[in-house]
Symmetry: C2
Subunit: 210 residues, 2 copies
């Protein structure tokens, strides 16, 4: 049994969505300077780094992040590898893929994961995302959670259709995963977002066990 950490490290260098504030993570109290203990302060938009979207991110129906069902966030998951030539994940690609019937949680490893491995600090607009027809495919299959390895499930410049399809159906969207070290296959996923009252999303730590 092996544990894979599929979360990116949160630091002020983390690329963030254009317009969002940079991550503020800094030590406030220093034992070296006489403080009784070291203390650290964190400030960020809740969509920084590895995080989940709640329906409230694109809808005003009151489904906020602290109420996302834990039995969607934890359980069996399938990691699908997509070749570097894939620019967007379509329904046609999923239809002919190795996804096992009945898979309830799907994580897509694309060429995006290499962005994290390179330590790229500039936001990359050309990331691989999930096409609206693939979001519909996911919903039709009864998938509870879908994850991607850059900062949005939807293509840059066209966020609404993919997000809306997934979130309206109650599919948890996990964004900002680093799947670079994970072979294709079946795992147990534990994706645990902070329990933030009334928020439209939350930073998360996510692991795969398998």
């Amino acid at each position: 049994m092996k544990i894979y950490d599929i979360s990116v490290t949160i630091s002020p260098n983390l690329p963030v969505w254009p317009g969002d504030p940079a991550v503020d993570l800094h030590q406030t109290d220093f034992m070296d300077k006489g403080a009784p203990c070291n203390l650290t302060f964190l400030a960020l938009n809740v969509h920084a780094g590895t995080h989940v979207d709640a329906p409230h991110h694109f809808m005003n129906d009151g489904r906020t992040v602290e109420n996302l069902p834990l039995d969607a966030l934890a359980g069996p998951a399938f990691v699908l590898h997509l070749p570097d030539s894939v620019n967007i994940v379509t329904a046609a690609i999923l239809e002919t893929s190795d996804i096992p019937p009945g898979a309830e949680r799907l994580l897509f490893r694309t060429r995006n994961s290499a962005i994290w491995q390179r330590g790229e600090q500039v936001f990359q607009k050309g990331f691989v995302a999930i096409a609206p027809d693939a979001a519909e495919w996911v919903v039709r299959r009864g998938v509870k959670l879908v994850g991607i390895d850059y900062l949005s499930v939807a293509a840059f410049g066209d966020p609404l259709p993919t997000h809306e399809t997934l979130l309206k159906a109650g599919v948890v969207a996990v964004e900002g995963l680093d799947l670079s070290r994970v072979p294709q296959g079946r795992y147990q996923l534990y994706c645990l977002p902070l329990k933030l009252r009334g928020a439209d999303g939350a930073p998360a730590r996510a692991i795969l066990v398998g």
Copy 2:
């Protein structure tokens, strides 16, 4: 199989350690006002709510939170109920308790859990903590992780001995748990802190499966 959420909900009303800033959690962008999506901002000391301490909290030896071993944070755990009459968890109490031999992760449910259930917004100095001799007992037993249901493993006003004993030995300290709904017994724990580069601790979401 049931999942217990043992994390407290993070909000501006959460009591914080005296001297620490209040939690700032507020919506910055509103679809109601024409924004393309809702967005939320979070700012907090990393020891707010349910969180873990890394050795760097009380030591300057470079063991920061992003490097805590996942195989300590996830795995079999035992939840021990302590009666409301217990003011501090001592080695003598643990020695005669129902803790099974070889238990690697221990969570102590005390009268503290009722503080969260009451929704108490004022920091409570009289919380039940772990005595230094109980910390030594935990280390001697080879325990990897120990958790308590208020904001410190150590008594208010005497933080050093308990923290130092645990953290020096590499025992992960989990603080701010709400164990009020969890029966005594064995579970699988998944305590996943944010992966914060160089920090002395991190807010976490923690669940028990059992």
